[in-house]
């Protein structure tokens, strides 16, 4: 057993658990995949914090990602925007730390004060992936604090549009208060109503009025506070001449209260106050279940959370970090490797190779020459470049794209099943109530008419109906959640069930940036392979890592004269051989028209061959396409990229599918609109800013993301790239969920019919109402949860 353990530890990094490709990082008999991981271990070990590794094995996150420039965190006006609170001595800041994933993370972050005495306290909220840190400003600056977090591998995500922080807390708290009051009144009025249910002896009747008034006192806060939203909503919907489900609910609550109050005050009966309280309590719980939100995911991000907080501005020889919003036309800015160009600017200095894949969908980096305008949103790859801003951030191409009028359309007009039903339900309910009243009036029994009329409105109050949809959909939501599809709200599931057309984006959506494969064209000797290995292991560049992976196990040889030229390549010498690895211009050869990223290998200026990195399709793409086609969905592809891989896609997609290439963001939006005008319900799957408009326009916009904490455009749902192959199942399951709602509707109608048959005769007792209401509620809640889980099992989603 021990031997096995040893072996396991040896092949994966002690800190992050990644496979070890290089053998040189070793400390205290633990092995690491890279220097970053080793440093984290060292820091923790020196501070007696090795318990971090005790609670979980490999608790760390890979440290291979490059760190950003933090100079902007010294600017007081930026600090003021980021902190929650600060005074002369202390400051409190809440960071969003995507790396938080296990109990070791909590332990380490809450013991930050041991690493640096400048930290007073820190507290982690695991679900929200937030760390709230209180620190002494004199002992540690914000920049040092962030650096400390970087050192231990917990990079906070700092953006000015902190949507995650904004949240919707207030609203939720208010609802909880309403539920609490309703629950409190429900319990107490039930207790007080018991004597009446069991029947009171004659001498006890003197207490009846006391109990009645107590009940009235409990009913009042429920009516005025807890149920207030239903009256408001019913009023608004009547004003718009629509009938939603809140209308019969509000009517039922209203009638319940006034009939009970009348009975209590006139001492003609015990009233239905306990039923009123339980009704409001249950429907509020349904509302609460429906409002469940994801804390750590935001569906409303825009370009501001994509941009960095600050950019380096050159003032003569000085550099000064400046907030993006404060950028002026004419400012000279410096953009380093992997940084985003924040505003439309003219290139002044350096070799610009800009990756616009997120903005346009085009996957190949674009080379820019001096004096050319570079649009905002691109990511510089290679050396640092200098640019002059020609347009303010708010006027730039990207921002305009986002604020485009055609992107801002009215709220999605989608009718839910319950919304559709409630029209007919309300009309039917009123018909029954009035005809019952009319019947008794014609029979000359006015008392019975009043009793029957109110009883109908009370008993048919669609409590069970109001609960069926929230409970089914929230159960479905949590099943989707477990399968890594994060849906914005419950209504989106019903929308998903109605979809008949599915439109895919290409880059990043059906092709995965993580799954890529390396090809080599040419021939290499064993010695050359060893040389490539020896050179590439010095570099942190992702392509070097891919090449090392491709080489596998090769003997290590010592090289001399190693040099890395950022954005070009690297070189090294072994004996009399001089090897160059890098771009075409670096190795001195003509550029070959090739797809993806290309790395040339040359020995003594003779080109030996080239490596090509190609993004692969996501796992199970053809299965997804086939089963969606089998379920009679129409499939289309809209890509901003060029047509070079059209043939491969033709093979995968069915014949009648439209495959459109070279589409601008606005084209995508208009295409979706055109399909919608043909009466189709369109689902768009996309990933980048270029899909943002289409995602919002579509009936259901799903953003596909490989890291759900990273930026994704505004949408209705976020799909983790890993779960892409489950897409057909997701669509089927959403249909199942709607089926469950329809079934529970039939059940609640059954209960209503039973109740109504008593109500129209004017013979409904308070006890009968008090029993029927909870029973129907419990039936619906358990039926919907069980059925939803049952369907999920059948679809193999749980």
């Amino acid at each position: 057993m021990d031997v096995n353990k040893e072996l396991k530890i040896d092949t994966s990094c002690y800190h992050c658990g990644d496979p070890i490709e290089d053998t040189s990082y070793q400390l205290d008999s633990h092995r690491f995949c890279c220097l970053g991981c080793q440093t984290v271990y060292q820091i923790l070990n020196e501070n007696n914090m090795a318990s971090y590794y005790r609670y979980n094995s490999h608790p760390g996150k890979s440290q291979k990602i490059q760190k950003e420039d933090l100079a902007y965190l010294d600017e007081p006006n930026i600090i003021a925007k980021l902190v929650d609170y600060q005074d002369e001595e202390l400051a409190i800041i809440t960071f969003y730390v995507p790396a938080i994933h296990c109990s070791s993370c909590i332990w380490l972050l809450e013991n930050l004060y041991k690493l640096n005495p400048g930290v007073k306290t820190s507290q982690v909220d695991f679900m929200k992936k937030q760390a709230s840190i209180t620190f002494f400003k004199k002992e540690i600056s914000l920049r040092e604090l962030v650096q400390l977090l970087h050192q231990i591998g917990y990079d906070p995500k700092i953006t000015l549009q902190d949507v995650v922080k904004e949240g919707k807390k207030l609203n939720q708290n208010n609802l909880i208060a309403k539920i609490t009051v309703a629950g409190f009144c429900f319990g107490n009025s039930m207790m007080i109503s018991f004597p009446d249910y069991f029947g009171m002896a004659d001498f006890e009747k003197q207490y009846a009025s006391f109990f009645g008034y107590m009940n009235l006192a409990f009913g009042l806060p429920v009516l005025l506070f807890s149920a207030s939203d239903y009256f408001k909503s019913a009023w608004y919907s009547l004003k718009q001449k629509r009938l939603n489900l809140d209308v019969p609910l509000a009517l039922g609550i209203f009638v319940l209260f006034f009939r009970s109050a009348f009975e209590i005050i006139s001492q003609t009966g015990a009233g239905f106050m306990d039923t009123l309280c339980s009704l409001v309590f249950f429907i509020l719980i349904g509302k609460w279940v429906q409002q469940r939100t994801y804390y750590h995911i935001s569906f409303e991000r825009d370009y501001r959370s994509y941009f960095p907080v600050a950019v380096t501005v050159l003032e003569g020889e000085q550099t000064k970090p400046t907030q993006i919003a404060d950028l002026q036309i004419g400012d000279r800015i410096m953009v380093r490797n992997n940084e985003i160009i924040p505003a439309d600017a003219i290139l002044l200095k350096g070799n610009a190779s800009v990756d616009f894949s997120f903005v346009t969908g085009e996957s190949k980096p674009v080379e820019k020459v001096l004096g050319e305008v570079v649009y905002a949103g691109g990511r510089q790859i290679g050396e640092a470049i200098e640019l002059e801003v020609v347009k303010a951030v708010s006027q730039s191409y990207l921002t305009k794209l986002w604020n485009n009028e055609s992107f801002k359309h009215v709220e999605k007009k989608f009718e839910t099943f319950i919304g559709y039903i409630s029209k007919y339900f309300t009309i039917g309910l009123l018909l029954v109530a009035f005809s019952a009243a009319l019947y008794w009036i014609l029979g000359g029994n006015a008392d019975k008419a009043w009793a029957a009329f109110t009883a109908v409105l009370i008993i048919a109050c669609p409590c069970a109906l109001a609960l069926s949809s929230p409970f089914t959909l929230s159960a479905a939501l949590s099943i989707f959640d477990k399968n890594k599809l994060y849906i914005k709200n419950t209504a989106a599931i019903e929308q998903m069930a109605a979809i008949d057309t599915v439109v895919f984006d290409k880059t990043g959506t059906i092709s995965s940036p993580n799954v890529s494969s390396m090809y080599f064209e040419g021939a290499l000797s064993a010695q050359e392979k060893s040389m490539i290995y020896a050179i590439c292991r010095n570099s942190n560049h992702p392509l070097s890592r891919e090449i090392i992976k491709w080489l596998g196990e090769v003997p290590l040889i010592p090289i001399t004269a190693y040099a890395e030229r950022v954005g070009k390549g690297q070189e090294g010498t072994y004996q009399d051989l001089h090897m160059k690895i890098g771009s075409a211009s670096f190795v001195g050869t003509a550029k070959k028209e090739a797809e993806g990223s290309v790395v040339y290998i040359a020995v003594n200026n003779v080109v030996k061959g080239l490596f090509t990195l190609e993004q692969s399709w996501r796992e199970g793409l053809s299965n997804v396409i086939n089963s969606l086609e089998g379920n009679e969905y129409q499939l289309h592809l809209i890509s901003g990229d060029n047509e070079r891989r059209a043939d491969a896609l033709r093979m995968i997609f069915p014949n009648q599918a439209n495959l459109l290439f070279n589409q601008s963001p606005a084209d995508k939006l208009h295409k979706i609109e055109a399909w919608q005008n043909q009466g189709q319900k369109v689902c768009m799957l996309g990933d980048g800013l270029n899909d943002a408009g289409a995602l919002r326009k579509a009936d259901l916009g799903i953003a596909v993301s490989d890291d759900i904490n990273n930026f994704s455009p505004g949408c209705d749902a976020i799909l983790d790239g890993e779960a892409f192959h489950k897409l057909p199942k997701f669509f089927q399951f959403s249909k199942d969920a709607v089926k469950v709602i329809k079934m529970s509707f039939i059940i609640s109608l059954l209960y209503n019919t039973i109740g109504l048959s008593f109500a129209v005769q004017g013979t409904m007792s308070p006890l009968f109402a008090a029993i029927l209401m909870p029973i129907s509620t419990v039936t619906i809640i358990s039926f919907t949860s069980l059925m939803t889980r049952g369907y999920a099992k059948r679809r193999k989603l749980i």
């Binding site: 007696n48 090795a50 695991f126 009051v181 107490n188």
Partner: protein, 57 residues
Amino acid sequence: MDIIFMLIGCSVIIALFFLGAFFWASKNGQHEDTYTPSIRILFDDEPQQVSEEEPKK
């Protein structure tokens, strides 16, 4: 049997006390993070002591 007025009065006052306690807790953020404290309680205070002593041996 008039004691029943007092009994019910008492029970409602106690119930109101708990209602108030719930609101107080809610306002103080007791229900904001319901997951992290369940993990936090599992951390030992001891391992630090052990690891501090170990190098001295």
